[in-house]
Structures are given as C-alpha cells and as structure tokens.
C-alpha cells in the first residue's frame, strides 16, 4: 500500500531526500530582507506595477460594474503616491522592503480603526494590497536554489515553468499536491525524464530532508527507502523484429526539440506545435516571418514526414496577438481551429506560410492538420482550404468526441487522423485538465479511453485512413504497446521520450501488442489495466 498516492509520471523508481518548496509570506519576507536599499526601491516600483496591472486586468475582465468600482478604488489606493512615499521613507531609513511595506500598511490601518463598518472594511483591502506587494516583489525574482549535489526529490504544491527550468541534475524526482497527468509539471517531468507523482492531494506528511521513495509506475510515494522492482525498461533485451510495426515520431515546439528528436532517430515529426513558436510575438507575424520561423525548425527536424498543426490557442493557451477575451469555460470555448471563425485571415496566412515552407523542402512530406475539429462541416472547410493551397497530406485531430461519429464519412482529401489523448480524455470524461480533484479520470490507462481509441482505429480502417497519437499517452513506454495493439500506426512522443519509443519500435511484436491491448481493454480500472500490462510485458 502506498503511503501517498497520486498520478505517476515516468516509470523509474527513485529514492531521494525531500527538497520542500514552501510558499508563504515567511519565505518572501526572508528573501526581501536580504536585498540592498537600491534594489529594494527598484523592486517596490516593479511590484506596484505588477499588482496594478493585475488589478487593471481584473477590472477589464469583470462584467460586474459594482465589482469594477471596488477594484478601481483598491487600485487607487495601491497607486496612491502617499502609500509609496511612506514605504520609500522607511526603506531610506534602513528598513527591509518587506518590513517597510508591512509598517506602512500598519500605519494606515491604525488610522482607519474606530471608523464605521465601511472604513473598518478597508483595513482588509489594505492588508491584501500589502501582502500582494510583498509576494509580487519576491515572486518575480525569488531564485530557488536547488542543490547541485546528492539525490533530491522536490516536493511542492505545484511548480511554475520558471521553477522547473531551474532544476539541477541533482533533482531526481518530483511530488506535487496539485496537478494531474496533463498538468504543466507532469509534461515537463516527462520531457526531462524525471520521475514524478503529481496530484497527491495531501503532502503535509512530507518533511524537508527526509528520505522518500517514488514508484511512478505504481502511482505511489513511500516514506523512507523501499526496494522497488524495476519494470521500467521492459523492452530491453528483447529480440529485434525484422519489421517495425509502427512509426516512432517526435513532438516539436522549438529548434531544440527538433534537434533532440532527430538525434533520437525518430522517423519524423508527428506534431509540430506552431503555437509554441509564437509565444514571444506581441504582434501577428507576417507570412514572410512565419516562413522564416518554420524553415528554421524544419531544417533541424529528422528525415521523414512532418505534420504541422495549425495554431492551437485559446484563452487557456493565450497567444497575445489574437486578443482573445476572457471565458468562463476556456476548454469549452473558442479554442483551436474555432478561432478561425473570428480570425479567418490568420489561419489562411498560416496555411500559406506552411505551404511556402514546404515548397523549399521539395523532397520532404509536409502534412498539415487542424485541432479541435468537432463536426464534418469544420473538417470539410479545413480540408478544402488546405487542398486549394496544394497540400496533399491533410489530416484532422480527434479530440472532440463528436467527430468520431463522422470518421467513416469524412471527405477523400482527409488522409489521416491524429488523436490528442489529453483533450480527448478531458472531453470524454467531463474532467477539467486543470482540476486535480478529477485527475484520476484523465489517466490515459482508463479502459474507456482505450475503447474509444479502438473504435477510432476501426472506423478509420473502413475509410482506409491512418491513425496516429500525439498526446502524452504516446510517451508512456508501457502504454505504447497497448496503443499499437489497438491499431494505431504511429506514436509521436515528447522530445525527451522519443529514444525509448524508437527502441520499442524495434522490438515490439504484433502478438505482444495485441495481447497488451486485450488485457488493458478488459481491465476494470486504469490502475488495473496498467498493472496487468506491466505484469504481461515484464514477465519473461
């Protein structure tokens, strides 16, 4: 029995000491106390700007006029020069930034005590402004110092992209309270090949410097040191097959990914995420700029097919120049290809730029596919736009379950399907990818997800089109055998997981894949499916 259960990422058991990241004002205070005077003053100015822009955004995004007035009043207090001048005075007289903010807030709150209820209520506003200022001042610049020596397991509520980017080689594992199999932390850990157990719910029993053992293949965390039988590399020492039964591909979102995928000997790129190339663009890149960006990436890709995916953005995956508003349910809103309803010219330009890029690499197969296609009308509209520009390898993603019913009647110019398992799970199980309380439903081993993939493969066979998988599920070495057994023709894994996938493609036999698929399909739960397939593939 696991001491703590979550969702495992990776399959290598690891043992290490806990590096606990605590987030509270105490930490922020400690960091800010060490700043010299000049830096404190600069930080203060920066923090006021950060919090003010948070307020402005909330005001702009709010539809409630009362709330807007309250927020505007708070913004007026935050940007009141009298507040900053009191803080600046005490910094100049030698106070640390955090205590200068605290004492200024205390000074003003003491003046409000004793008024009517309306004035007393402003005390809470002021205190909130104070703590947000301290967090903003500390947050942006707080450098986590991960250890360089030893073997450590990072334990935290969740990790930001900034934090994961600072991992040192001494970080061997990660445990988080929040998040699920498709959360940012899970994706990064898979990419870095760091074992993790995410979405544990309660991590309060994990203390700094204590030893713990992670067994991600069993979704488990154990206190202390525990010997775990390593099943992680089931494919090693199996005989090489004469003919590979699937194409191992890689997902690419940057030149760095492209290089890694190529050196891992992938047979192509199953998902070129164009949105990642645009994150830094405040304005829409022109067709010419896009061609330059794409050409750069393609020139670093491995030989073989390259599947471009048109811009997959949304209010939950923002791209600044699209100027998308706020939505109550971003996962169910204007997202993926749906954005072409409001910005058709961007999508036309993008297809044109991809086509032009392709013509520079005339000996390569450049394919294009659209995300979030929900019905036949959308599929036809996209396929016809691409056909008109001269694409001859056109596909759609299968992630919105409604399109599954139209697979057998899709038009001739659609030649392939690519399953995005993360979003397909989210929509199939009505489970928000951002909500750790429902993360277990997003486990790609869910037998219903596997049955749905089987159905997609069977329907595609009646039309004679190929099915690939580009979601996180393709990066799981055990699951890959199951997916191939279900009838999938290619798997496209995150750049870091491609070399394992290539090795698996050389040894996986049709009978092994079929047996794995059968066992998984007939399991009663995700955990059961994973355990049974692990037993099957690791027993000699």
């Amino acid at each position: 029995m696991a001491d703590i259960a979550g969702y495992g990422v990776g399959d290598q058991p690891v043992i290490g000491k806990i590096f606990l990241i605590q987030r509270n004002s105490a930490d922020s205070h400690k960091f800010l106390a060490s700043l010299p005077k000049e830096e404190s003053l600069a930080k203060l100015k920066e923090a006021i700007q950060i919090v003010a822009s948070d307020f402005s955004n909330s005001i702009n995004n709010s539809k409630d006029s009362t709330l807007q007035e309250i927020l505007s009043a708070q913004l007026a207090i935050l940007t009141d020069p009298e507040l900053s001048s009191v803080i600046i005075d005490s910094i100049n007289s030698g106070a640390a930034l955090s205590s200068a903010i605290d004492s200024a807030i205390n000074e003003f709150t003491s003046l409000l005590v004793g008024g009517s209820a309306e004035f007393e209520a402003r005390i809470a506003d002021l205190k909130e402004i104070g703590s947000r200022l301290i967090d903003a001042a500390a947050g942006e610049s707080r450098k986590l110092q991960f250890p360089n020596e030893g073997e450590w397991i990072v334990v935290s509520d969740d990790l930001s992209p900034l934090e994961t980017s600072q991992f040192t080689p001494a970080i061997k594992g990660v445990v988080t309270r929040d998040g699920g199999p498709t959360s940012h932390t899970a994706i990064v850990c898979r990419q870095l090949r760091i074992s993790a157990v995410v979405g544990c719910g309660d991590i309060s029993k994990l203390h700094s410097n204590e030893l713990i053992t992670l067994d991600p293949a069993d979704n488990a965390v154990y206190f202390g040191e525990k010997t775990i039988e390593n099943s992680g590399t089931w494919w090693k020492q199996l005989p090489i097959q004469k003919k590979s039964i699937f194409r191992p591909l890689g997902n690419v979102g940057s030149v760095k990914d492209a290089n890694l995928v190529r050196s891992s000997k992938a047979q192509g790129v199953g998902l070129l995420r164009t949105e990642l190339l645009f994150l830094d663009y405040a304005n829409e890149p022109s067709v010419k700029e896009q061609i330059n960006i794409y050409t750069d990436v393609v020139s670093h890709c491995p030989d073989g097919e390259i599947i471009f995916r048109t811009l997959d953005a949304g209010t939950d995956k923002p791209i600044p120049f699209l100027g998308l508003g706020k939505e109550e349910n971003p996962a169910l809103g204007l997202r993926g290809q749906r954005i072409s309803w409001i910005r058709p010219e961007f999508y036309e330009n993008q297809l044109l730029a991809i086509r032009e890029t392709g013509s520079k690499f005339s000996n390569r197969k450049i394919s294009v596919m659209a995300p979030m296609i929900a019905n036949k009308e959308e599929a036809i509209s996209f396929a016809n736009s691409a056909s008109r520009l001269g694409f001859n390898s056109i596909g759609i993603m299968v992630e919105v379950p409604s399109i599954i019913e139209e697979i057998s009647t899709l038009p001739e110019n659609i030649q392939f399907l690519s399953i995005g398992t993360n979003d397909l799970s989210q929509y199939l199980f009505a489970a928000d990818r951002q909500n750790s309380s429902v993360a277990h439903l997003l486990n790609p081993w869910q037998p219903i997800l596997l049955k749905t993939i089987l159905r997609i493969c069977n329907l595609s066979k009646t039309r004679g089109i190929k099915v690939g998988i580009c979601g996180e599920a393709a990066s799981d070495p055990l699951l890959s055998a199951v997916l191939i057994g279900l009838g999938v023709e290619s798997l496209s894994a995150g750049a870091g997981a491609v070399s394992d996938l290539v090795a698996i493609s050389q040894v996986l036999s049709p009978s092994q894949a079929e047996a794995a698929a059968n066992i998984a399909l007939n399991s009663i739960s995700a955990i059961d499916a994973q355990r049974s397939v692990k037993n099957l593939l690791t027993s000699k």
Partner: protein, 82 residues
C-alpha cells in the same frame, strides 16, 4: 462642504474625489478643521479622515485663480452628493 453620500467619504467617493483633486494642477487639502488637513489627491489619506455622511469638511485650494478654484470645488462637491 457637506458630505451627503450615504457611506461617507468612503472608498469609491474617496477615489473619485482624489482623482479630481489630482487633475487640478495645484495642491488641494482637506480636513474637518483647517488645523488637520491632508492631501486631497490621496485616496488613502482621505479614507483615514473617516468622514461620515452629514459631516462637513474644509477644502483648501492653494491657487490664486479663483474662478478655477470655484469650478473645481463644484466638481468635488458633485462627487460627494448622493
């Protein structure tokens, strides 16, 4: 001038009052008496006066241009009316 707004010189009226005072281009001070004046352009300082509905406040404009001062006082008064 008398503060008529029901909640007194509270968050929202204070923010508006300060906004107008800030745009004046010359210093404006406010208080219950001429001996305890605060900067009218500071919503925070205005709050700390804890002025209730029905109370009167002094507003001091530090300018020699009387016509502008009167216009400004009208504007300030408007935002503390109901």
């Amino acid at each position: 001038m008398e503060v008529k707004v029901a909640v007194g010189l509270h968050a929202r009226p204070a923010a508006q009052f300060a906004e107008i005072a800030k745009s004046a281009g010359f210093p404006i001070k406010v208080g219950r008496s001429v001996s305890e004046l605060v900067n009218a352009a500071s919503p925070l300082r205005l709050l700390t006066l804890k002025v209730q509905q029905g109370e009167s406040i002094f507003v001091v404009c530090e300018t020699s241009d009387e016509s502008i001062a009167i216009k400004l006082l009208d504007n300030l008064e408007a935002c503390i009316e109901n």
